[in-house]
Each structure stands twice: as structure tokens, then as C-alpha cells.
Symmetry: D2
Subunit: 331 residues, 4 copies
């Protein structure tokens, strides 16, 4: 029996998830909902599914799970609503921009014992998964240092920045989750330095576009994160883990494996445009993991708690960058 | 309006094409046929399509095109039958192992003006496509030398070898097509040297498992092909083109972009297992190209003629290897 | 006319410089001095040069320049002595472990207008040089972020650690110099986190073996440094610069360009053992630059001032790691 | 006791060997001879050695070995002369362009039991050496296929071509030696196809500038060689060996390990200009091997016989290309 899905929100990331669900043999994309009728229609037509209201999806007996792809400020309300309606919930990151609001939401989810998975897609990227498995297999011994390079191809528009919660809650939040995923130990201190080097408008909105972070754990493990809102050569996503027995590097995935050699040198094409193509396989794997956990009744991972912890780190980073000091995480 | 497809043959390559069709928004997988009921059932269940006989598919008004994935010795008959039934035909390579039989078949196709595309999937691999486009854009000037490395991970079973037509008609045929695709000029002479170095059973069947080929064109362009039925490190598929202004290399696509460094050195995982995963995107692009040509009424490429020419080169290579001499292609 | 050289100290780094001098057509290795007669004899025999005392070298009319390769605590005295003797001085890093002592020494050098170059060899590595030239040519626009990875293959013995001044003054000092070399702007704040993860004995001596650093400039440029006293896969020396128009990466130089592919994957050999082979060309270029500056009467670079600034950054890093806080550099 | 050397011929390759000898602690560059006084003077000044006539070198008691770097048509005479004078002889490839003349010369050498090494420098390249050692260690099992890519950056002048003996005797001869070195079995048949695609003047002189070759051994091993007189991206020198357990690839050595990423893609600089820099280490290793063999009284490798066999293969290739047929080597 396949799992019936409703996708809430037919924007860019909703489209990504709808495609992943359509391509999964254990899932049925039953319906899509969006406040903008044209968006819902386009997505429904693309995948041959129904258009329904939130109320209809809530009450639908053919829908077992919802994927929340709506604006961030609606996430908590929708998680609570569909948890109460006994639907399994997959919610895009971040759960909310406010830690207290996230806590309340997770309490409701816990009370209802509703399955909740948070959309940290990078955990499911084939190369990052392979890296994590190699770590688990002891390929490089004890983890000592993690380096995460994460740079977007180009800055988002000002309207996006305004409601994004800032670079740390919007962009670095993925890297905080990966850091926790790979360090295998909670982060105890955060130092962030952030600048406006790319886009003055971002600075005018009180946000940053370039950031470097230093994370520490109790046992002395160290993590470095490098973020920029602009990388001319494409969406730059790399991870390197140094351990007692060696190092593992997950290099950028390349759209084509081609090199052109001329008198100018050896030229390989730029990286992927952005996350929709770069993390194509990750999104498919992510939905498959959600379905597998539902089927097997195992714990959701990444969980709501993972979503909360990443947000707390983002808050600490923001404080660190603004106060220009090292910030310890509350015990 | 999407194109209705029938897939004939539910074996390994039939499954690959069924998945490509299912994932294509402009196509509907209507039915599958297979002499083995269990095979047809498994594929139909996987994609939620019907099971039909060849007769039913021939007469079906909801099926516009068929994809022939049956054993090679049935290809010509099926091409002719469905061409007569006014279906568009996509046929896996090779059309047949006999050049005369291919000619007769193509005559029928021509008479009926039926659209026929031959399954040389590699032309649609993203890296090889990019390479070809770079050539067309003049990135390395006039083509002078083409090098094709094509090695299977492991030899097929003896039963497969017996009906395969031999290494040149079964395996090198893909490389002959790529050579023609990239040289931009017909091949005028073939020298092949072939050995049995991998599997004595292959030798006992009168076939070879290791081959190196030298192809020439009238203007003096040169092409080298390197084939082996066994590559311990995975399915090895590379192309290099040297031209007057430089060189383009299409490197092996990698399942994951990861490297583990230890005191033993820097280790990257092996290549793809085989064509099903390696050419995943190529198969999707191939069906998309078939659909696009049907829609736009443009010429099919690769055509039946391309299939014939590749077979003629395979025949020449076989003769060359057996007679240990250079063989000129008939004008 | 070639430049006559005296090498002071016939240890590991003295041998490296002696070889570089011998291989330079514009230089003559005239004499070597060492407190240990056997060490001096071995080096003299190797290069066919004389063994002389410091006094003899000081007074020698056939020696134009000295290369100081003695223990760090003798550097300042020797610099001053040979500056007074009107010899050009090349001194290995660090000038001294004490900032005030360095200042006094540099004052003497300035007074005598003696040429002094400090041995930050990495500036002369062909790849790092090429990187710097590409920056100067504007290849990636304005520099925004610099990442330096610098890991030794294995921790030094405790006796070395004891007189080393600690990881920041002994090891990171090279990276501080490269950071200044590449950022093109003075560093205004340092945050270091350091741990003992490799060798408890290092911890027992009050030093660290693993460190991550975050450097900032007034205009908001950011620099990350990653240090470890142990990298199982060899001497890891990489630099990456991210700028407004792109990124330049200087990858590890490899002893051999070979890859072995088997069923285990694709294996490249480990990196260089250590600096003697890794920076072979850098040492040759360094001496050549020293000679060229002497000939042309141009300013020495890196200068004594560069040596002082790197030491000040090391002091700040040490303070940051011990006090667990961001440290601002004095204006 | 170091070995005293005389270098005969102060041209491009003479300069390369003089530098290698100067940098070798077990060798003394005693004298250089050249018919052009200015050439001899420049080299002598560069290395601080004497200028002597051939007669003087022949009679010199301080010269143990000569390195023959004169024009090819003088090689045999000089080998014979200095073998008779009881000097050890290192001769640049080819020994001569005529197989019979080479045989006579080698007879004289054998009669005098004179040590003779032929200058196939590539055997001593660190990467190719490592490749060969990995083969000897069984890293990829039994050798099945060898691919050699060898392309010069730009065609030589017509004057050079005229006395070169043609592409196979001048350029491919290195590849024939490497093929023998790596196949571990004599070559029994040669098929060459050659064209004039680069430089019409080369064609006018009856020579080729582009060639592809197929070599066979008795046991069925196969070797492919790809030659061009022009590679816009630099001196292209690669070897790949495919065996029963895997593949070893020796990639191009790079002058700098740098990559610049911009919106155009990832660009690495071109390869080395030509053999003088590319094979810098190989030439040093080659002289070291010559000296070691002299010291230890072991057999010279590559030997005069190796030089002869490479020439015979070149003759066969020339015949094959001109007659457009496969040529068997005489038993």
C-alpha cells in the first residue's frame, strides 16, 4: 500500500517535493493546495493530481501525509493542525524563526505522538550520505574537524531577505544541521564573523551576505563553516571531515564530467545553478526516508528536535556576529 | 497531449525504458507486453500500467509508440509489424545481427514512412552531449582524433555471449556509433585486434573479450577504441576528442563525489555498476528526444541508417580481428 | 658575479637551504658553520664547501650573505651580529618568540640599513605564487575570504614542542604570513579555538595540537585557518581564496600523478612526507628572490616587519585560545 | 669518489643533461665539447666546467663517462670511439636511424664490453616509475592493455623534420620503448595510421604529424599509442595500463596545482611547455641510474639493445603507415 500525499504550497520547493513524491513507487501524490490558484493548477496539471483546500486535505481519508512548503510563518500552525488531524508531517526548514514558538509546536506534536520530519535535505545527498557512512564505518577514526563550505550562486531578492530571519536562520541553518549530523556531539560554543561584501541592499536590511563560523564541542572537536550569498561559479556545497585516521572530502557534484583543454588551460563547466538540480537525488532520498520511517514505525530523522537545535545555533551565531564575541550555548 | 507508449519486453532494458517513460511528463506508459507473464506483471505493477498482447498493442488507439526491448532476433519483425500498424518505433540496438536483414527492414520502414529511432543511448548522456555541443561550437577546432574507452564491469554469461553476435556487434557497436557521431565523417577503414584475456569460456565460444580498434576516415581523422569485458573498478565509459585547437575529455560520471584520505592514500569509490545507473539520465533524455521528434515531426536521430552503419563497422571489425588485417569499408 | 653564502646551522632546514644555494647559478655556497662538528662536516662534504666558525664567516671577504638556520633563541643575536658585519641576512622564521626582542633586533637592522629577509618559504611555492599573481591580475575580483589548510604529517617530539613557542608561534605563524600576503589588508581581530586531540604529551606541555582560527580585517574580509599536528595522508597544504568574481584554489602538490583503480576504488598515493620535499621548489625560489633583491637593491620581502606582524598574530591567537575569546589586534 | 663527466654537444638536450650532472652529488661535470664555440662557452660558464675537444675528452684521465648529445648522425661513431677509449657512454636516443648501423655499433660496444645506456628518459619519470613499480607489485594483476598518449606542444621546424627520420623514429620511438617497458613482452605486430593534419610543410617533406598505433604481443596483449605534433594545451604525456585486477593511470604532471573558478567554469593552467621542464626530474633520475649502474657494475637499462628494438618498431610503423597494412615483426 502506497502512502497518499498532500503537498501544501506549490512554490519552488513544493514543486521539488511533488516531483520526488511522483517518482516514488511507494507514494501517491493525491492533492496540492496553494493560496494562489494558478500555482496549484500548474503543479496539479504537471503531476495529474487534485487541487484541494487545507480543510479538504485535513479531512481526506486518502491522504496519509502532508508536506509543508508554505511560507515559514505558517509552518507551526500547519504542523499543529495536521498533527491533530493524525497526518504524518514533513515540514520544510525552518520550523519557525522563533525558538519559543518552535518549542510550543513540538510540544503539541509530542502530545499527539505525530510523526514529524524536518526538511534538512542535505543529510540525504548521496555524497554526504556516503561520507556519513564512511565515518560510521570508522574510515577516518575519531572526528576532529569538520569544514563546511556552503555558498549560494547569487543573493536572493530583498523581499526574500526581509522575511528570511537573516543569513544564519535562513542559510547557515542547513550547515548547523550538517555540523551536528557529522560531529556526533552537541555544539557548545559559536563564534561568527559576518560582513556585507556582496550586496549593499542586504546590509541596508540589517542582514549579512558573507559569514565565517567557528563551532566547538565539549570534547574539543572543531567545525568551520564558510558562507556566501554569491559564488560566480555555481552553487558551492562541500564538506570535509578530518579525523584521527585521515580525512573524507565530499566534493561538489558536477552537472557534466567534461573538461575542455585549450591554450588557455583546462576548463570544466560551472557547478549546478542551485539546490533544485544539485540536490535532486537528495530530495528523492529524503521523501523515501520519510516513507520508510512511516512504514517501519521508526523515529523520524531529522526530527523536530533537530530543527530546534539548528535554530538555537542560528540565534547564537546571530548574537555572536552582532556582539562580535564568542557565544556559549546554554547547557 | 501526451504520447501513449507500449513497451515490448519487460527485461532489464525494458525496465529502464519504462522508468524513463513514466518519469516523462509528455508520455504515458499505457501497456507492457512480455512472453513471460511474471515479467510483464512485475513491470506493470511497478508503473501502474496495463498488460497487453502484441496484437492488442498493435490495435490500441491509445498507444502511439512502441519501445522494442525484446531479444535481437525479433527486432526486425517487430519493427516492420508496428511500422505497418502506424506506430512510431523506438528499437533497442542492434536492429539485427545481419546487415541484409537490416536493409530489408529499413526498406519497409521507409516505404511506410514510419518514424524509427535506434537506441544508441550514449548520444544522450549529459557529458557526451555536452562534449558534442562543445565540438559543434568549435571549442577545439577541427576534430583530429577520437579516443573511446568502453569497458564493461564483468563478462556476461555464456548464454548471452552465444546470441550476442560477438563483442563487436554487441558491445563495440555503441562505440562505432559514438565514433561516427563525433568524427563527423564516415569511417573508411577498420583495424581491430582482439584477444581472449578475461574469460576462457568466451574464447571457447569463438568470441573475444578484449579488443583495440583503429578507425580511419578519408580526410585522415583517426579513432581509437578500447574495449574489455571486465573492468574491476566499474563500468568505464570515457571519450576524448583531440582537435586543432585543443582537447575535450568526457570523464567517467561518479556515483558519489567523495574521497577518503588515509595513510594508504586518497581513495575514491569505484564507478557505476553498469549501464542502468550510469546512463540513467541518458535513457531519460533519449526518450525525451524521441518524443520531441515525434511532436515536431523532425527526423529521428539516431536513425535506422545509423543502426545499419554501426553494424557494418562491426562486421568489418570482426573480419579484421579474425583475418588479422586492415579492412577497408565498401564505398 | 655570484653571491657568496655562509650557512649557519647544518640541521634539517640548513641542509634545505644549502641545496638551494648550490643549485643556484648566481650563488656560491662558501662555508657552513655548526656547533656540532659532525653536522657541519656532513653538509660541507655534500656540497664541497668549507667549514668555518662564526667569527671566520663574519670576517670573510668572500661571503656576502648568511642564512641563519640555528635554533630560534639565537636568531636575534646572529641577525644583529651579521647586520653589523655588513652581511646580507636571511633568517629562518620566527625571528624570535618575543615580540619586544624582535623589535629591538629590527631596530638594529634598520639602523645599519642591512638587508634582512625572513624565511616564509610558502610565499615562493609555485602554486601559491601563481595564486597570488592571479589575485593581482584580478582573476577573482576583490578578495573576500581566504581559507588556509595547513596540517603536519605527524607531531614533533616533546623536546621540539618545549622550545617551539607553541603551535601558533611555531606552525600557524606560516599561515598568518600567508593570510596577510593574500588578504592585502592587516588583520584586526583573531579568534582561535585549540584542542589536544592528537598527542596527550603535547597537552601535558601546555600546548595544543589542533586549532581552528577566524581572522577579520577592517573592511570585513574573513580568513579561516585549519591546523593539525597530524595528517595521516601526508603534509596537507592548501589555500583557497574566494572573491567577488570567483574562487582560486591551490591544491596539494603531489609527488607522483598516479592513480590505481581496482575493485576497492581509485587510489592516489599520499601527499609529500613533509616540507623538505613539498616546498623544494619554494626554497629554491626563495633564495633566488633573496639574491635578486640583493642584486637589484630592492626591498626584501618578506621583511623583518612581516616577521614581527606574524608573531603578533600568533600571540593574539594564543591569548584567544587560552581565554576563549575574540582578541582585537592593537591598532 | 664521484664520476667525472664530459658532455658532448651543448644544445638543448646537452644543457638538460649538464644540469642533471651538476645537481648530482656523485658526479662532476668536468668538460663540455661542441663544434660551435659559443654554445660550449655558454654551457661551461653556466656550470663552471672546462671546454675541451673530443680528442682531449677521449684522453682525459679525469673523465670517466661521456654523455652524447650531438646530432643523431654522429651517435654511432662517437659511441664506438668512446667505447674504445674505455669511457662509459650515455647516448641520447636514437642511436641511429639505420638499424644495420645500430647493429654494427652495438657489436663494437659488446666487443669492448663498454657500458652503454640509451637515453629513454621517460622510464625515469617519477610517475611512470611509480606506475611500473605498481605493475611489478601486482597492483593490477596481469597487464592486458597499455595506452600511451604522447603529444608535442607544437611542430618542430622543417629543418628538424628533415633529419629526424620521421615521426615514428623521432617521436614515437619513446613510446615504443615505454610500450616494451610496460608490456613485459616483445611486440609482434604493428599497425600505424598516420596523417598530415597539423602542418602541411611536414607533409611536403614526406612525413606525418598525427599518428595512431596498435601494437600486439604473442600472448594477445594490446597497446595503443596516440601521437600528435601539436597540442595547444601543452606537452601531453600520459600512460594508462589496464590489467586483470584494475587500471593504473599516470596523469599529466602539472607545473602548478591551481584552479580558478569563475562564471566561465573551473580553469587549470596548461601543461608544461615541453620536455625540458616536464621531464626535469626524469633527467636527474636517469643520470643517477647511469651512475648507480657504473658504481655497482650492474647492467645498463635501457640498453643498446633497447635502443635497437625501439628503432625496429619505428621502421615497422613507418612501413605500416605507408603501405596501409598491419606489419608483423620479424621473429
Amino acid at each position: 500500500m502506497s502512502i497518499g500525499f498532500g503537498v501544501l504550497g506549490a512554490g519552488r520547493i513544493g514543486q521539488v517535493h511533488a516531483r520526488a513524491i511522483s517518482g516514488n513507487a511507494d507514494a501517491r501524490l493525491v492533492a496540492v493546495a496553494d493560496a494562489v490558484p494558478a500555482a496549484a493548477e500548474a503543479l496539479a496539471a504537471r503531476h495529474g493530481c487534485a487541487i484541494r483546500s487545507l480543510d479538504q486535505i485535513e479531512q481526506a481519508s486518502d491522504i496519509d501525509a502532508v508536506v509543508i512548503c508554505t511560507p515559514t510563518n505558517t509552518h507551526c500552525e500547519l504542523i499543529e493542525r495536521f498533527a491533530r488531524a493524525r497526518k504524518a508531517v514533513f515540514c520544510e526548514k525552518p520550523i519557525d524563526l522563533n525558538v519559543d514558538r518552535v518549542r510550543t509546536c513540538l510540544d503539541t506534536v509530542a502530545e499527539r505522538q505525530a510523526p514529524l520530519m524536518v526538511g534538512f535535505n542535505r543529510r540525504f545527498d548521496p555524497s554526504f550520505l556516503a561520507l556519513r557512512r564512511a565515518l560510521d564505518d570508522g574510515a577516518v577514526g575519531a572526528v576532529e574537524m569538520v569544514h563546511i563550505t556552503s555558498r549560494d550562486p547569487a543573493p536572493p531578492p530583498a523581499t526574500y531577505i526581509k522575511s528570511s530571519g537573516g543569513i544564519f536562520r535562513d542559510m547557515t541553518i542547513h550547515d548547523f544541521d550538517m555540523a551536528r549530523f557529522l560531529l556526533g556531539e552537541e555544539i557548545t560554543a559559536v563564534t561568527a564573523t559576518a560582513s556585507v561584501l556582496v550586496d549593499r541592499e542586504i546590509g541596508a536590511l540589517g542582514d549579512f551576505d558573507t559569514a565565517s563560523l567557528l563551532l566547538e564541542t565539549a570534547s574539543g572537536k572543531q567545525c568551520i563553516i564558510s558562507n556566501s550569498r554569491r559564488a560566480t561559479y555555481g552553487y558551492d556545497q562541500r564538506i570535509e571531515v578530518h579525523g584521527s585516521l585521515g580525512m573524507i572530502a565530499a566534493e561538489n557534484q558536477r552537472p557534466v564530467m567534461m573538461e575542455v583543454a585549450t591554450s588557455s588551460g583546462f576548463l570544466r563547466p560551472p557547478l549546478h545553478d542551485f539546490f533544485m538540480t544539485r540536490y535532486d537525488e537528495a530530495y528523492a532520498n529524503e521523501i523515501a526516508a520519510f516513507i520508510a520511517a512511516l512504514r517501519d514505525g521508526t523515529a523520524m530523522s531529522p526530527s523536530g528536535e533537530d530543527g530546534l537545535k539548528a535554530l538555537q545555533l542560528a540565534d547564537a551565531a546571530d548574537l555572536s556576529a552582532r556582539d562580535r564575541r564568542r557565544v556559549r550555548m546554554a547547557g
